[in-house]
Subunit: 334 residues, 2 copies
């Protein structure tokens, strides 16, 4: 584990740049896509960062590879352990295999089938747990201690989130190549790792750019925390189809960054998320999972003014079961 | 219409390079994607050129823009006319709007609903015809003459196919950036425009690279023409779900190129195409239409040895109706 203390030395833009060096030739530079039909729907310009096209189908491969590749070969000899609902699981599994070390993933027994199957296919061992009765972090920490393995946390870790922030560096570079000046950025927010370092990198290069955390209705803990100035938790009874965004409280490290970099929070309902998944199918030709569609859902539901503006939307993942996806497409039928 | 005679002066690589200049900042450079899970299925390396992410959801926008932007403003003042089952229709419609001229599209009345709706959304006028009773080319030529408009043919036109060939230039550059040496390339083939100039560009830069035309079973006219050395037609009774690949005979200009550049032809059934669409959903997070999946279908059905090899697969389009896509995902249940 790194010794950087969260409150004293939060990861900086130079940490993100160092992560980008570790990820060069390892992670994909995902495209910044544009659809004339999507632009027409919104009445403005929409530029979509398609992280569903990343290796393992989500941005999580970046953070996992950033962490694992920063460890020396001695440190990773005992392998790595992670807990995750699915995307971090797959990211750690493949990042470990690509770096030549073993991985154990602690997964909820109700994780989407495709996420569990893929985690296994990337060569990881899986330990299932009951999401409502067991403490995944305690299980993972005990397994890590037993194996002499390194824990790769999903978001509250400087090396992990520095990797996620490479999304921000790429967006900045791709905007420059298009000669496009964004008015606002919408990005999903679960634990807040992706948006924390992405917003850090983007606001460093484009001061004053408004960046919004997008969360499922009922899981708007970051929005409420930003408003309160301190971390707030979700109602334990809350439910959402956005399985990737069910973290109950903003991360400690991530919130310390997000409260400085973000303009606010937005949220969308499950029905709006499903409509956004259909819109991505129709206009972008992308397979987007519910959590991955939350920022697009906030945009298309009019949570923020987008007419005559240029909006960057981050689509974070595409690991969705075929049955749910087919059912979602069916919503649009008369 | 250009005055270049097909047999005397087929379009060359420098024509493709000139088209790339016209398309700079107009068409997207689509990514060359890689999925570890897809690699595992094949036992080799698969690099996927994702043209379904192109503006209008297929490579056809390249050819249409190449043609329309090569016309002087006088030549396009009367607008353009095209006939198409759908992807060329959308490509011409948006390319015309982007270049500031009017477009009339002659479409079969049984074209997929999404393709007709999008063509209209891009601002084009549509004239429907009966695929089995009327001659689309005659209708289009009469309309063009009446309006003083320029006909933009779907493939048998040097300026159109020079635009499609920019896919080949990009693949070459992207392979170089990955430091990857391909063993073979699989590309869809309807009229043969995409594969003609793509293979011309790729074999010019990588002499001896084997490139295969991939066609729906029953529509393997290019495969049989390559074997016979002269153009062969399909059985008029043939049917396929690959609506983008139903042209009855290889193009005259395109076949003159393809007989020099291609290693042969492969084909796949509708069921294999649907399985490939599911594989693209699961591993690549791409929405692929039936015709767009034909090359992947040939690969995954074992029509060519791919183990321990690097295979480039071109995915040409993603304009598929939601109902068909949902139904196709359902094939994979149990």
């Amino acid at each position: 584990m790194t010794m950087i203390a969260p409150a004293d030395a939060p990861p900086s833009v130079s940490d993100v740049e160092a992560a980008a060096d570790r990820l060069a030739g390892v992670a994909l530079e995902t495209p910044l896509l544009e659809s004339p039909l999507l632009n027409q729907r919104v009445g403005g310009r929409v530029l979509v960062k398609a992280e569903c096209l990343q290796r393992t189908g989500s941005f999580k491969y970046r953070g996992a590879s950033s962490k694992i590749r920063a460890l020396g070969s001695d440190a990773r000899a005992g392998g790595v352990v992670a807990y995750s609902s699915g995307n971090h699981a797959q990211g750690v599994a493949l990042a470990a295999r690509d770096a030549g070390c073993a991985a154990l993933i602690v997964m909820p027994s109700d994780a989407p089938a495709i996420k569990a199957a893929n985690t296994k296919a990337y060569g990881a061992e899986i330990r299932f747990y009951d999401r409502f009765a067991e403490d995944r972090q305690a299980i993972a920490e005990a397994e890590a201690a037993k194996r002499g393995a390194v824990l790769v946390p999903p978001y509250d870790d400087p090396l992990v989130i520095a990797g996620q922030g490479t999304v921000g560096l790429e967006i900045d570079r791709q905007l420059a190549a298009l000669d496009a000046a964004p008015d606002q950025v919408l990005c999903c927010c679960g634990g807040g790792g992706l948006i924390a370092e992405t917003s850090l990198a983007l606001t460093a290069r484009r001061p004053g750019l408004p960046i919004y955390a997008c969360e499922p209705a009922g899981f708007d803990d970051t929005k409420r925390s930003l408003e309160a100035g301190v971390r707030r938790s979700v109602d334990p009874a809350a439910r959402s189809i956005c399985d990737a965004l069910l973290s109950p409280t903003p991360g400690e490290i991530t919130f310390a960054i997000n409260r400085r970099t973000l303009a606010g929070g937005l949220s969308a309902t499950d029905a709006e998320v499903r409509a956004a998944m259909r819109a991505a199918f129709e206009t972008l030709k992308l397979v987007v999972e519910p959590g991955g569609a939350i920022a697009l859902a906030c945009l298309l539901s009019g949570r923020i003014e987008a007419a005559d503006r240029t909006t960057v939307v981050v689509i974070s993942g595409g690991n969705v079961d075929a049955a749910l996806f087919a059912d979602t497409l069916g919503d649009g039928a008369d």
